[in-house]
């Protein structure tokens, strides 16, 4: 840990490098970060709300989905990007020594930064609907977003670290992970609330440590959501296990895998 701190300059340099380089020679630059969830939400509104007609509990579908999508993006981006951490940086790892954890950490910070911009968009949208009295909004509830963001990103980070090691040896697992993430999306209460899940599949959604996070995140904005403190403890426990396992596995294997890549 002390060693990580000694390399903090490098950590932030890598974040800066990735952030700058992903918007070189683009038209909209970082505005893509806002553009992308907007388009996604509009599509989902059309599909789930207008065509299929899933209930959003009387809340404007746009805001309802944007809340879910923003949090989902945080999780899935951290998970997927971290999974590539080792393969992506292998060419640097082969030539220079620095604590290998720097690389996934820089990805984590970069994604939190991107999330920050999308969160801003979400706040703007929430503000808009509040002003036009379409939803109730209690600014105090926004504090709930803090633990949600921490727990969700750590869940993604921990799982990503584990995958980043496994996929060095079995590259095809990256495809599998992609598929898995897509499926996971549907057992997260993004487009529906836990309250409307049929009894016989409820266990599946409850098993998902992310479910309570989505409910809580929605609660922070809308004052509506069903979650129990047991669910939250479950999420936290899951997060701690995953995070420590991820860091331990990454540290242990990153030295050995240099010979493999």
């Amino acid at each position: 840990m002390r060693e990580l701190y000694a390399y903090k300059d490098l950590l932030f340099r890598l974040v800066r490098k990735d952030f700058l380089s992903s918007y070189q020679q683009t038209l909209l630059g970082p505005f893509w970060l806002m553009f992308q969830p907007l388009v996604t939400v509009i599509i989902y509104v059309l599909v789930f709300h207008a065509v299929i007609g899933v209930s959003t509990e009387g809340i404007p579908a746009f805001l309802y989905y944007l809340i879910g999508i923003t949090l989902w993006n945080l999780f899935s981006n951290i998970l997927l990007n971290t999974s590539y951490a080792f393969v992506q940086s292998a060419h640097i790892f082969e030539k220079v020594y620095f604590p290998r954890l720097i690389s996934p950490f820089s990805i984590l910070i970069l994604n939190l930064l991107r999330f920050g911009i999308q969160f801003l968009l979400l706040l703007l949208a929430a503000g808009y609907f509040y002003i036009f009295k379409k939803v109730d909004f209690n600014p105090g509830y926004l504090l709930f977003t803090v633990p949600v963001i921490i727990i969700t990103s750590c869940l993604g980070f921990g799982a990503g670290l584990i995958f980043s090691i496994i996929t060095v040896k079995y590259k095809d697992l990256l495809n599998l992970l992609d598929l898995f993430t897509r499926l996971l999306m549907f057992i997260c209460p993004i487009f529906y609330s836990l309250a409307i899940v049929p009894k016989n599949v409820k266990w599946l959604v409850y098993l998902n440590p992310l479910s309570s996070q989505f409910e809580m995140f929605r609660y922070a904005f809308l004052g509506k959501g069903t979650f129990h403190y047991v669910d939250i403890l479950y999420s936290i426990g899951f997060m701690i296990c995953l995070l420590f396992a991820g860091i331990a596995i990454f540290n242990k294997w990153s030295d050995k895998l240099i010979d493999v890549v």
């Binding site: 300059d9 380089s21 070189q24 020679q25 640097i92 790892f93 082969e94 220079v96 020594y97 050995k256």
Partner: protein, 425 residues
Amino acid sequence: MTPIIIHAENISKLYHLGKIGTGSLRRDIQHWWKGQILGKDDPYFKSVQDERNSIWALKNVNFEIREGEAWGIIGRNGAGKSTFLKILSRIVKPTEGTVKGRGRISSLLEVGTGFHTDLTGRENIFISGNILGMNKREIQQKFDEIVDFSGIEKFLDTPVKRYSSGMYVRLAFAVAAHLEPDILIVDEVLAVGDAEFQKKCLGKMKDDSSKIGRTVIFVSHNLQAISNLCTQAIWLEKGRVCARGDSKTVVNNYLGSENKKSWKQEFFNLDSAPGNNQIKVLLFELEPQLSSPLLPIDIRTPLTVKFKFLNLSDNIKLAVGIHLFTITGECIFDVSHTPATYKYGILEGECHIPGQFLNDGSYYLSIIFVKDSSEVLYYYEESLNFDVEDFRENLNWYGKWIGCVRPQFPVTLRQSEVKIPLLND
């Protein structure tokens, strides 16, 4: 004596060839289950992990470096030099043994590690500097120096991908040259870049190690640079230490062993001897006059070419000529003796090439047999190869000395007494 800064004890590194593990997840899990959980041996796995499929890149290397020393590492390709550097710079872990080091280590195994081609030169100076272990403040302090050293001031805000390859290398190296680690580890990175810039970098490295007392570990195929830059050297051969000590001695021994191969051709059987029904070559040998048999031929070494052949025709007017060529095929000389009449039987002769005559480089010898000064009886072409190594004393210049030969003809320079005619006179 200065304190020990790196101490490597018995380091070995095993690499597996071909497939690593069993190659499939199912097999790996099966193996793990059987081996670790049930405690049985998996027959499939054994055949994969065979000794034949693995190679010891390094084997039992012991090493001690003291502060301020400059070490060169030499050896053929695949001798384990790069693995050794990677272990010292903590990139890979040795399979066996330990390395203990003190102080900050910076390793330069590649030019421009971590450069992002879409970003500007300015950004990349910071990225590269951080990756190599400098912190932000240090880079800011040295920023002007780095830019100055690289000479790319005008292009500082241009994306690196639009740089010429020379500019790219210069920028990358400029950053690296301004590192201030306690130990600097450099692989064959100087091979890129133009001669001028190479000289600048070598000069900077030499200054650092001699004036500031920085410890430098340097791998290069440029042996001239090693013996000039480094005080000590290690010679690795197939993962083992072959020799170590004073850099000039080690370099010379290394060169000596490299060149022994093709200096002698001797034939005891007339059927296999090269030639035809008039001439059979029995011996063709290059014999350098070296003070020690371990030393290589360098530009000072006098050489003797010895030859012995069977003349199958009686009473012919015969002349034997020696041709010396550079490796690129240019003839340096064609020497012969006065033709005379010789009887049937074995003839032998020799030719002396004085020292301080050939330039450094690779050469080959041919021998020609001529009858009556006109008819070629036999031409034994390109039969001996040898390398002449450079040798310079009290000369602070490592570039290639041009020319096919390097004789020491007297060149004089004196002050003229004639006054300079001034324009306004």
